[in-house]
């Protein structure tokens, strides 16, 4: 199994009582709640945490893109990736991912990734997402074009990476008379493409298509949802005439280890509850699911099931739902090994810093995870098929 440290880079100094005056940690929370002096320290600290992961032997470090929110301070994740390209030595640098429909020039995303591929010595893994619903408010992009723009931008980026330029691309949303990437990427035929999702069937079908075989990353999901999504991917692969490999499946999950189960729970409790109840707080279904962002049938399903406002999560409900991994190294290791056998994933993206988790506990978590959990996982070849 390959093991990664996925950092969301939240505004960890958020004054929770102050933020409670506003209805969300996204879009509407004023940036007067952000203190630049604290922000400067946080960026340095977070980049340092990712560098530490590289030194400790993680297979990769991961960043992602979110806009106008205390949840994550990476509206431009490639800037962080660029810093890491120079300061890390062996870890893959995973940008999971860029939100394609939110930009008007996808060629620039192809260009930036190609630059990063050079600067990192061919160590990048790229990711493509649509951006979450609230980002259609904060980026002014029409959500009813979200799917069309995603597919079109993806096609354009892949062509830009793989075809000799200059060529012309004429789509419904993107038109370019000259596409001619300088530099072309280092990795051939192109850098790996991973797709993070919360289990949309449409995304799974698209990823598993024989012409793509993109690695599918399940994020922030109750355990049964993740199991179902991975099974759907394998079934889809089988329909397409091939067997899905563990390397095509990744599981991203908040993870916290401490000396004992009890200490781990005690230390994480406040921060994980703040994460789900405050940093992921949306005032209404409308901010999370703007019109046309998903098909009407998906929207109805999401409204009924998944997007019930999570403002009353406790560490116990989160553990029970399989949303987080927390405990002693032995507990967490055994849990991951059990999950791997059931789910068949080959990549574990451990989210080792979450919300307000402070520097000392984050570093302890990273070091303990790296020394007591990670080696066992890295030494075991992931099992191909689920037992369940």
């Amino acid at each position: 199994m390959q093991v990664y440290f996925f950092h969301l880079m939240p505004y960890g100094d958020l004054d929770i009582a102050e933020s409670d005056k506003y209805n969300s940690a996204w879009v509407t929370i004023p940036n007067s709640c952000f203190d630049s002096a604290k922000g400067m320290k946080l960026y340095n600290r977070y980049i340092g945490e990712l560098e530490l992961a590289d030194q400790l032997g993680f297979d990769g470090v991961c960043v992602n893109e979110h806009h106008q929110t205390a949840y994550g301070l990476m509206p431009a994740p490639n800037l962080i990736a660029a810093a890491l390209a120079r300061s890390t030595k062996q870890a893959k640098i995973c940008i999971l991912g860029r939100a394609l429909p939110l930009v008007n020039n996808p060629v620039m995303i192809a260009e930036e990734f190609a630059m990063l591929d050079h600067m990192s010595g061919g160590r990048i893994i790229t990711g493509f997402v649509r951006g979450i619903g609230s980002e259609y408010f904060s980026n002014s992009v029409n959500p009813t074009f979200s799917h069309e723009r995603f597919y079109e931008a993806h096609e354009l980026i892949l062509k830009a990476w793989t075809e000799t330029g200059p060529f012309s691309y004429q789509g419904k949303h993107y038109q370019f008379d000259y596409v001619n990437l300088w530099p072309r990427p280092v990795q051939t035929p192109h850098p790996p493409v991973w797709i993070p999702s919360q289990g949309s069937m449409e995304t799974i079908v698209w990823c598993a298509a024989a012409e793509r075989k993109y690695t599918y990353l399940q994020t922030f999901s109750p355990y049964p949802v993740a199991v179902k999504a991975f099974k759907a991917y394998r079934d889809e692969a089988e329909k397409n005439g091939y067997e899905a490999q563990p390397s095509q499946l990744g599981w991203a999950i908040p993870t916290y280890v401490a000396e004992t189960d009890e200490i781990a729970r005690r230390e994480l409790k406040e921060h994980i509850e703040v994460f789900f109840n405050k940093f992921l707080r949306f005032p209404s279904i409308e901010m999370r699911l703007p019109p046309g962002y998903s098909s009407i049938s998906s929207t109805k399903t999401l409204m009924e099931m998944k997007f019930k406002n999570r403002t009353s999560s406790t560490i116990d409900t989160l553990i029970d739902n399989g949303m987080i991994l927390v405990g002693s190294p032995q507990t967490v290791r055994q849990r991951i090994e059990h999950c791997q056998k059931e789910m068949g994933f080959g990549h574990l993206m451990a989210m080792l810093q979450i919300a307000t988790l402070p520097a000392d506990l984050t570093e302890k978590n990273i070091r303990l995870f790296a020394s007591e959990v990670m080696p066992h996982l890295q030494n075991n070849a992931p099992q191909l098929r689920a037992i369940a």
Binding site: N142, E286, P291, G292, I296
Partner: protein, 255 residues
């Protein structure tokens, strides 16, 4: 009201239809077509035709429809498909925007234009609410000044299939997401509206501020204006019968 379907160059358009007399084509507001006091009163004097704007209600968004410009040309095609004499064009909110855009393109088949709190121009002041950020019930409340009518509407919406509500939102977002409910260029072209025009607006409109009417009045020569005191954005429900009588008087003055 009876329901008909009209083929407009390959796109089926569902319409509510009622009454006899000169044809009045009414383009609905942000929540799709409804049989409200406005249409009922208009139908006493006109043959009222109220189409579902493509993308609203039970009509999926056609691939080719990317903007209000497309919806405006489609409206001219719809008018052509109806045939007959020049008709009276009217619209509320998003429908008012489409009607105004259609009239800037051609009035050769349009006898008069009635705009009820039309979207389409940048408001002079920021609206009190973002129509896309409100939850269902809050969204309905923001439409009305009279909250007793909002209660009735909330109850009515609860009976409406969720598919229709979601389709109305998606149809509106397709046309009016950016810039919100407005066009950068429409004010520049409104001078081309060369038919008698009636404009009315709710003083308490939270969706499209009342003061926005000044831009329409400035650009459309000779337009008549009536403010609606104690009325929000939902003119067809809040002032339906009165506005219909106004429109009847206005249109009969046109003849």
């Amino acid at each position: 009201m009876r329901e008909t379907v009209l083929d407009v160059r390959g796109t089926n358009v569902r319409m509510l239809e009622a009454g006899t007399g000169p044809v009045l084509l009414f383009l609905h507001g942000i929540d799709g077509p409804s049989a409200d006091p406005l249409l009922e009163t208009l139908a006493q004097r006109f043959q009222v035709m109220a189409p579902e704007i493509p993308g609203f209600s039970r009509s999926l968004i056609p691939d080719w429809m990317m903007s209000v410009s497309d919806a405006a040309f489609f409206t001219l095609d719809l008018i052509a498909a109806l045939g007959g004499d020049k008709l009276h064009l009217a619209g509320h909110s998003i429908g008012g925007w489409i009607a105004a855009e259609a009239a800037t393109r051609s009035t050769s088949a349009i006898a008069s234009l009635s705009l009820l709190a039309p979207a389409g121009v940048m408001p002079k002041q920021r609206p009190a609410v973002d129509v896309f950020l409100l939850s269902g019930e809050e969204g309905v409340r923001a439409l009305f000044h009279d909250q007793a009518l909002a209660d009735k509407e909330i109850a009515a919406r609860a009976e409406q299939p969720l598919d229709i509500t979601l389709q109305n939102r998606a149809g509106l977002a397709r046309l009016a997401w950016t810039p919100r409910m407005a066009s950068v260029t429409l004010p520049h072209w409104l001078h081309r509206v060369d038919v008698p025009t009636y404009i009315t607006w709710g003083v308490e409109d939270k969706i499209l501020p009342f003061s926005t009417h000044e831009i329409f009045m400035r650009e459309i020569a000779g337009a008549q204006f009536k403010s609606q005191q104690g009325c929000g954005h939902a003119i067809p429900q809040e002032r339906g019968a009165e506005v219909a009588r106004d429109m009847i008087a206005f249109i009969e003055g046109v003849k």
